[in-house]
């Protein structure tokens, strides 16, 4: 048995890097410290896809990596409008090759931000983002606001490592010296911890952000007695807490990106943060889901200029979420093949979009069988990044962290799989040119 320290968790955007594992006979047998229940489940492993597979007469049949990669390359090469989607639960090195493949075949490349914090990206492009690292939050924040998020369940180490419960240089007392405000449409495990819980009527976040902005800018007289289900007295209480804080930090989640106003909610959240600047230091950050969704946004931006929903079919990058995002493409039946890597649209896309995914040739690259496997014509099992393969990822505050390889495997890493598909595509083109 070997104890391994400083293991990095490859589950959520917290990317906790202080985990202690026990490894025996090339298997993770115990998570001793550091991981939350969700991270622990990932580190201890799940049932894997055993072999590459190709669908024949409706049934997936086992084959070699070479055969699966060749078949995948054939599908993409023949396709007129391929979609390459996912990329958030793998490392930046694989993502980089993915963009190269997309450029080579004139594909649309999109990542899970488009069903997660895509609206946040649009808002940030509109009005910027006053933000900081999670280290700064830990060391400075004395007022933490979670808006439309339930980190006690979804990012279970977030409060302990980085925000309300953590102890830092100027926050040595931990939560004793801090205040927690939770804004949500329902009571959650997170709201139960709050000093102030503000229950917003579903779909009314925009109005509540606006009311708080008005109060912080000295216009409380224009705020009615109740806004979005929240009494004015409670809004005044939250505004007072903001004014009295030395450092306010707002984290927001899908509760505000998934609702009617979408990116406009986030524009208003950022403007609320700017209004707080009249009184104190204040920052804001999206709670990113997948451990490297921030990384694929980085890679796509370095390589194409845009973070997600990029159409490369014109020979240059064309960015238009709403047209080139994966759910839209599938809903409009506007792609004729799909390569899904390190994500699971079968579970997380609207049913109306899945009808087209079920019809077109689909390649799946993933360590685990999931609902997407049901649609896949080619299944290529991958090594688990952060356990069986190393590489760089970006935490939710855009700090790069290197995932470590903990155990050996015969599964190929995502980077090698995508590279080999690209090589095969180029070989097919060369052959056709002869």
């Amino acid at each position: 048995m070997v104890e391994i320290t400083d293991v990095v968790c490859s589950l959520c955007g917290c990317v906790c890097d202080d985990i202690v594992l026990e490894v025996e006979n090339n298997e993770v047998v115990k998570v001793k410290r550091g991981a939350c229940s969700v991270g622990k489940a990932k580190l201890l492993g799940h049932e894997r896809i055993k072999s590459p597979m190709i669908r024949e007469n409706g049934e997936l049949k086992e084959c070699s990596y070479d055969e699966a990669i060749k078949k995948a390359a054939e599908i993409l090469y023949k396709s007129r409008r391929p979609l390459l989607y996912g990329w958030s639960s793998t490392v930046c090195e694989a993502d980089k090759v993915g963009v190269e493949l997309a450029e080579d075949i004139g594909a649309i490349i999109d990542n899970t931000a488009s069903v997660c914090h895509g609206p946040s990206v649009l808002a940030i492009q509109d009005v910027g983002l006053p933000s900081c690292t999670l280290g700064e939050v830990k060391n400075r924040a004395d007022l933490v606001i979670y808006w439309g998020a339930n980190p006690a369940q979804a990012h279970a180490n977030h409060m302990k490592r980085y925000s309300y419960v953590s102890k830092g240089y100027w926050t040595a007392e931990g939560k004793k010296g801090k205040k927690l405000v939770v804004m949500d449409v329902r009571k959650t495990m997170t709201s139960k911890m709050a000093d102030v819980f503000v229950q917003v009527k579903q779909g009314k976040d925009y109005q509540v952000f606006s009311a708080l902005r008005a109060i912080l800018r000295g216009h409380e007289d224009v705020v009615p007695d109740e806004v979005g289900g929240v009494p004015k007295a409670q809004l005044l209480e939250v505004a007072s807490m903001v004014k009295e804080a030395k450092f306010m930090m707002t984290f927001f989640g899908m509760g505000v990106t998934h609702t009617g106003a979408r990116h406009n909610n986030i524009v208003n959240a950022i403007q609320f943060t700017r209004a707080a600047h009249l009184h104190t230091k204040a920052n804001i950050m999206p709670l990113r889901g997948h451990y490297n969704v921030a990384g694929i946004n980085q890679v796509c931006t370095w390589e194409t200029g845009f973070p997600f929903a990029i159409d490369l079919s014109r020979g240059y990058p064309w960015y238009n979420p709403g047209e080139a995002s994966a759910t839209d493409l599938l809903y409009r039946a506007d792609c004729d093949s799909a390569m899904i890597i390190a994500s699971d649209p079968g579970a997380h896309f609207p049913g109306e979009s899945l009808r087209h995914l079920a019809k077109i040739p689909t390649i799946q690259i993933d360590p685990y069988a999931n609902p997407t496997t049901e649609f896949a014509d080619v299944v290529i099992p991958a090594a688990v990044s952060g356990i069986e393969a190393e590489g760089n990822v970006y935490r939710m505050d855009n700090v790069p962290i290197r995932l470590r390889k903990i155990i050996d495997t015969d599964y190929l890493p995502d980077e090698e799989i995508v590279e080999r598909i690209l090589t095969e595509v180029r070989a097919l083109r060369e052959k056709e040119g002869e």
Binding site: V38, T259, P350, P371
Partner: protein, 127 residues
């Protein structure tokens, strides 16, 4: 009674997260194919824990198990993010790139129909 008008939202739960990489298991099914309702709404619907409910939107119908969660205000139902919730979500993003996963007008009613397993649910998209 006929279906009750509600608003549907979805989101993560800890058990849903623990089974992100094992979505074909009973644990995931038991956590995610579930509709969390306020107790008063369950009473109005004459629904007890583990009864099945049919959730219908303009975009589809899905059967899930009922579970009481008084954290939800009356008139708001919560189905953990996953295949069952997405069966009744529109693919239309109104040009914004993001589907409306939350705040969807729905009706909920008691049913004797069974919940589809995940593979069966995916097969409905192939028809």
């Amino acid at each position: 009674m006929e279906g009750m008008n509600v608003r549907l939202i979805s989101g993560r739960t800890a058990v849903q997260g623990q089974n992100l990489d094992s979505k074909l298991t009973e644990k995931y099914f038991d956590e995610v194919a579930v509709c969390n309702l306020n107790g008063n709404d369950m009473e109005k619907l004459n629904v007890a824990k583990d009864d099945y409910v049919k959730v219908t939107t303009a975009y589809g119908t899905v059967i899930v198990k009922a579970k009481q969660d008084d954290g939800n205000p009356e008139g708001l139902i919560f189905i953990p993010m996953g295949p069952w919730c997405n069966a009744v979500i529109s693919g239309d993003t109104h040009g914004a790139g993001m589907p409306s996963f939350k705040g969807v007008d729905a009706t909920v009613e008691k049913t004797a129909e069974a919940v589809l397993q995940v593979k069966e649910l995916m097969r409905t998209y192939m028809e």
